[in-house]
Symmetry: C2
Subunit: 424 residues, 2 copies
């Protein structure tokens, strides 16, 4: 197993002024292709610490990714300290200098003199392309390890990592280099439940080339399959039976796959039938509408959203004067509100998510009762649910439940299926 380390450099990261999402991004991307990070070091814009970090990593690792310190300012030290650690000179790279001048020319600007520093590279460096920025990536050997220097700007890092560095790491590791990552997004089942449901799916491909993983970000769970093979055809062939089995076992709980989102799926379902949507919310306070209505294409689908905290105000807003303004919240209330909202706005679909929040100060066992309904011209579907876990947990859970029930309705699936987060 190849030993990989990451070194992050920069005062903004070291002082906690910015959270180090570049590190978690790199580490996840490597995990996704079957590589693992062993050790991570963060140092500031400090020559002595950076040199020490490079040398220590060069003694321990086979490959090291260094992030940051490639900018044009005096506190960007990576090229200089890399040259020192490798025992070589810094030399001007004429090709990169020309690239930078062209970069500024295309933006009708003159290159500031201090950008020249970005073309000074260690003499033994292999240039690693950065097609979208002026920071030149490079690789060189320090100690026993191959070092890869990457820019701190996230979109430049992401592209360089995926297009340039991961292929080099896979080649160096001798691993089969065709890799496919398949992702399923679900709502309503906890990580350990899904883990139990999927027990054994990896063994459908007996050679161990399929790896199952999870990433929980409440209320959604991401299930990941990483498949290695000799080429794209081989990975697809291996993936096919496993993804079929995952779809079968998780069934209606899969809300989208790969880069698709729940809100994107709902919008696409509505757009495909020239549908339109109105939403009525209470304690979720506009957060359901805010997931959908700003998206490209939503302007023709999203009709109207209404937010109110008092049930009487909700009824007034949708033209249900005098109705159930007081009294307990029921599924029937939600159904009446959804029907009225649809009628009032002439939308093809209306979603009402009404919440009765427990009284008192926020606490871990504070809960909410959720009554939601989806109305069309000819029918109405509804469900009632109770979620515990404090104000934020209830609010986030209700947003997801509302959108997911609408997704289920639009896909002709049962709107109600018991989920792990609700109390009986």
């Amino acid at each position: 197993m190849m030993r990989i380390e990451i070194i992050c450099t920069g005062d903004e990261v070291l002082t906690g002024k910015i959270v180090n999402t570049n590190f978690s991004y790199i580490s996840q991307k490597l995990e996704d292709v079957g590589l693992s990070v062993r050790w991570e070091t963060t140092v500031g814009d400090d020559r002595e610490s950076l040199l020490r970090a490079l040398r220590l990593a060069g003694e321990r690792a086979d490959a090291v990714i260094v992030n940051g310190g490639l900018g044009p300012t005096v506190d960007d030290l990576s090229q200089e300290v890399a040259a020192q650690a490798a025992g070589v000179e810094l030399v001007l790279n004429d090709e990169w200098l020309a690239r930078m001048e062209e970069f500024f020319r295309r933006r009708s600007r003159v290159m500031p003199p201090n950008n020249r520093k970005q073309a000074m590279l260690p003499a033994t460096a292999e240039v690693i392309d950065n097609p979208i920025g002026t920071a030149c990536g490079f690789a060189l050997d320090i100690g026993q390890a191959r070092f890869f220097f990457t820019p701190g700007v996230p979109r430049e890092l992401h592209r360089m990592l995926e297009e340039q560095i991961i292929p080099r790491l896979l080649a160096k590791s001798g691993m089969q280099t065709a890799i496919v990552l398949k992702r399923f997004h679900s709502y309503g089942l906890g990580e350990s439940h899904v883990d139990a449901l999927l027990r054994g799916v990896e063994e459908l491909v007996p050679d161990g080339s399929v790896k199952l993983g999870f990433r929980a970000h409440y209320p959604q769970l991401e299930t990941k399959l990483t498949v290695r093979g000799t080429d794209t055809e081989d990975t697809r062939r291996k993936l096919a039976p496993v993804e079929r089995e995952v779809r079968k076992r998780l069934g209606n709980f899969i809300l989208s796959e790969d880069d698709a989102t729940l809100e994107g799926v709902v919008l696409a379902e509505l757009a495909s039938r020239q549908g339109s949507l109105s939403i009525v919310e209470t304690f979720t306070s506009g957060a359901i509408a805010a997931r959908l209505a700003h998206l490209p294409g939503a302007d023709t689908v999203f009709r109207r959203g209404v937010v109110a905290r008092a049930l009487g105000e909700v009824c007034a807003a949708v033209g249900l004067e005098g109705a159930s303004a007081t009294g307990e919240l029921t599924r029937e209330t939600a159904e009446a509100v959804a029907r009225a909202a649809r009628r009032q706005t002439h939308a093809t679909h209306a979603l009402a998510v009404l919440i009765d929040l427990d009284d008192g100060a926020d606490r871990i066992d504070l809960g909410g009762t959720i009554c939601l309904a989806i109305a069309t011209e000819h029918e109405v579907a509804s469900r009632r649910s109770r979620i515990l876990g404090g104000r934020e947990w209830v609010r986030l859970g209700a947003v997801e439940m509302g959108l997911d029930c609408l997704r289920r309705y639009l896909q002709n699936l049962p709107v109600y299926e018991r989920i792990d987060f609700e109390k009986a």
Copy 2:
């Protein structure tokens, strides 16, 4: 200057499955009291790596904070590896065992046998109290450094760091231990602009005990003053002229101080005059309402929110039938919509934030024209603004601008003042 290092341990952090916000939290808190982190290391749940990390830090640092690995499961290794690095035995701490048994008893549960492991501490360890969890903090010497072991659960870490560890670090550093952190939140001025406006405020206290810092999280900027002194009285005396000067220079742009939020200030202003609020939004899609309406106390203040993407639908929703449903968006339209929304819902105040988004695919120079208005029974205030920077930048900027203009109106400040983010 005391050399401080942080070691984070755990596979979830090392693999990037969770973003390491514990590290940025610790580092910020230390910066806030005038201490600095020199070096950070992340290792997984791996005995050999953790031991190596402890020993290396023990050679370089004066103090080391270790985060994670104090849990009850077999992959939690911190106590055991700490004992090994310090060359001492692990011994059962009877007092902590009793504390844990009491912890479970108060929750009407029996302590699972594997929790006993959390009371096994290195023989030379000083116990550091964790009043809200079962993970026992502790301190001991390894190499030349004092090590502080802390739990990975964020709220347990936060409390232990502030109440137990920072005072010990300040005592060890010999620094004056009375510290006060004063924070100002603003909207509309960029970091470099505020930095220029505040030039020289630190020198109002000539002994160098006031430090100025910033933290930008678009669209808001946080300005921080850290003051050290011999005691609380001393820090207050030093802070007073500086905070007065900051308030004078940033003036109306300061939207709140310390833990107060923009939405909290708006709610409190409305509540103090028995006011009520209705909101009308377009491209912000409910995100303005979602900042306010779910907060404790908002149920009596927040009256109604309306979201629609089409101007005709906005007008229909507030009962402005036939009015300006087509044509260019103007301040007058926003004023008419705010007036109608207030009338319709009998709220004391109505805020309308209407946006005309540029056509075409998202791009860095895509902009939006924002017309916003605030109506009361007797008057209406409005402004027009243009923000560039892509869909998300416009959306987030408009949410903040809407709330901040309402804050200004409620505080009798000019609703319009030129901000750095808008284009003329």
